[in-house]
Amino acid sequence: MNIASFAPLAVVLPILGAALTFVLIRHSRAQRAVSITLLSLTLLLECVLLASVWDGGTAAVNIGGWLPPWGIVMVVDQFSSLMLVVSSTVSLAVLVYATGQGMADGDRDAPLSIFHPTYLILVAGVSNAFLSGDLFNLYVGFEILLTASYVLMTLGGTGPRIRAGVTYVVVSVVSSVLFLIAIAMIYGATGTINMADLAIKLADLDSGTRMLLHVMLLVAFGIKAAVFPLSFWLPDSYPTAPAPVTAVFAGLLTKVGVYAMVRTETLLFPGDSLNTPLMVAALLTMVVGILGALAQSDIKRLLSFTLVSHIGYMVFGLAMSSVAGLGAAVFYVAHHITIQTSLFLVTGLIERRGGSSSIDRVAGLAKLSPILALLFFIPAMNLAGIPPFSGFLGKVGLMQAGVQLGTPLAYALVIGGALTSLLTLLAVARVWNRAFWRKPEDAENPDPVLLADPEDSDTGDRAGKRNVTLLPRTMVGSTLGLVAFGVALTVFAGPLFRVADQSAVDMLDRSSYIQAVLGENAPVPPIAQPEPAQQEGQK
């Protein structure tokens, strides 16, 4: 009995939780208890999975006993289990945060009871996408998480959320249709949708067909991962959702897209046929995204733009298709999930304490709430890549890999990456200066909450605000936990980087994955090298 046989539980447990919380929809206390317990169990299970593959190796589970390539396979390797652990940690923190917010605000926001089941289904979809060893199951995972995200995005059904929700739903559905078309064409071309089997059979196709399938998948995942120029939808739709929802979206959803890109790039389409366009896209994503962030005055929108911008780093690492680059990208994904989510959670707290998330309307928070300032400062510096935080380590890893590669384009990306890092620092420093360092009196059109007497800042009933706790302990505690997890990523960066590098070696080698799924005797095809003449033609 292999420990990896329990991998499907990472999907089943959250779905079970969703069913239970849906039954308990009128008992908010029981609902909270069930969802937090089941998510903690899931996290525990995923930690065990990660521990079982910590030193390398790949394990596959055949669902329902159907042998691959016919049945559905779930694959646990270092990359997928690392993503599972990080994503579940983040979702648990956000769940606790949202629960705290719900308790602090009372049951006035009625749709909150639907939050728990939907949220758990989202987590199940994310787990399914990470574990899937089958293209169609990956599609189903995406659809599960997207459908849950549609509901969360429009929670409460207010005007701005519906407006943002429409954009989000339409863009997501279009990208899913593209993905499905790609799956259909791949099935038509090869007769299989099992990824390990595809890795063998795609190599036999002629390069034109392969290129077509490759581009289709990349475009579909590029929309989901918000890679420029397919990133326009993200800053439009994310900021309007409730703070915990935005936080989990920012942390997880785009990263599932990045994960899918990494899987397909390394497993299905190895070689460097599309690396040049990917690198250009990565550069543009970084630079255009961060320039957008500089124009924003709303912290949530600003962070959405930095989110887009930093996707560029991961695509950069992927596009190098070297062990160093891919390893750094894996590390960067883990780092970025944590940091971006904590920043959005802190923004939710800023919004509560300052009454607004616009940097014009809040001021003086460093004095009003030092803990908030600390909670913002650490992940903000981490995001900007200030030593010694994990953001710095990830970026250095990427740049080292870029310099190793040594092509002019790689150097351009290294420079672009450094520039983006500095501009990120500028963007978060702007937030810091205005929201935290100004005097509270300097705020333009401040919310009454901001200027209220600090004496009664715990529970105040003041103009326009009902009697609520401004900074409930659960919310601050969960944010603090996530910030601490981000710092832990820095402290344990050594072992983590080792695992990331090893997973990169495995992914580029492919034999571990293919043989885990199809058995020891499966042939591992050599990486298809397109003839130079054809490559010239394609350019």
Binding site: G157, T158, G159, V170, D236, P239, T240, P242, N445
Partner: protein, 202 residues
């Protein structure tokens, strides 16, 4: 493998209509477009199954090549269920948009318009004189009804100026919104629309 020409033509027509419809501004048409795209894709998956054949129920006497490929049909079934859920959800959204805004159209993002119209000049950083360049055009008007920019001035001229600004209108999404309300547009729970009959606005 061979392809059924009729299916292929229908698929192409569905894709063409679907793509045309999702370019529309009306939400109902966008939804119809999405449904056509989903159905066209289902046909595409069906086409990948190859020739029509016998139902895939195993019998020793039948040559394996006579069976129809069952896998694409399983995939189609899943994708039909998914597109059903998405369609239902989109209908809900469309109804909600109708309740809230009395229009079946995609709304403009007020924040986008604001960013587009914001000059590169920043009031706090670039200027000695506090003039009105922030994204809250009216928020500069103090509680006494006088603009901050008027603080140094005196007399009726200032009062007239701020009164005029008090009625400033921002045009967004085809609607005219009072500028001070437009600033609050992105705040959760804020409504710039009149309540619908269903009590769409809390």
């Amino acid at each position: 493998m061979s392809v059924n020409l009729t299916l292929l033509t229908v698929m192409g027509a569905l894709y063409a209509c679907g793509i045309y419809l999702i370019m529309e501004r009306s939400l109902t048409r966008v939804l119809l477009g999405l449904m056509l795209l989903a159905n066209a894709t289902n046909l595409l998956i069906l086409a990948t199954g190859g020739y029509a054949g016998l139902a895939p129920m195993f019998s020793k006497d039948i040559d394996p090549r006579d069976y129809n490929d069952p896998l694409p049909q399983a995939l189609i079934l899943t994708s039909i269920v998914i597109s059903f859920a998405v369609t239902a959800f989109m209908l809900g959204i469309i109804y909600r948009t109708w309740v809230l805004a009395r229009r079946d159209e995609i709304q403009d993002d007020v924040e986008d318009i604001r960013v587009a119209e914001t000059p590169s000049f920043d009031a706090e950083d670039d200027s000695e004189i506090p003039v009105e360049t922030s994204e809250f055009p009216l928020t500069m008007v103090g509680t006494d009804g006088r603009g901050i920019s008027d603080a140094g001035m005196s007399g009726e001229g200032a009062a007239g100026g701020s009164a005029e600004r008090g009625s400033a209108i921002v045009k967004a999404g085809g609607r005219e919104i009072k500028a001070k309300d437009a600033a609050a547009e992105e705040q959760p729970g804020s409504q710039n629309v009149t309540p619908g009959p269903e009590g769409g606005v809390k």
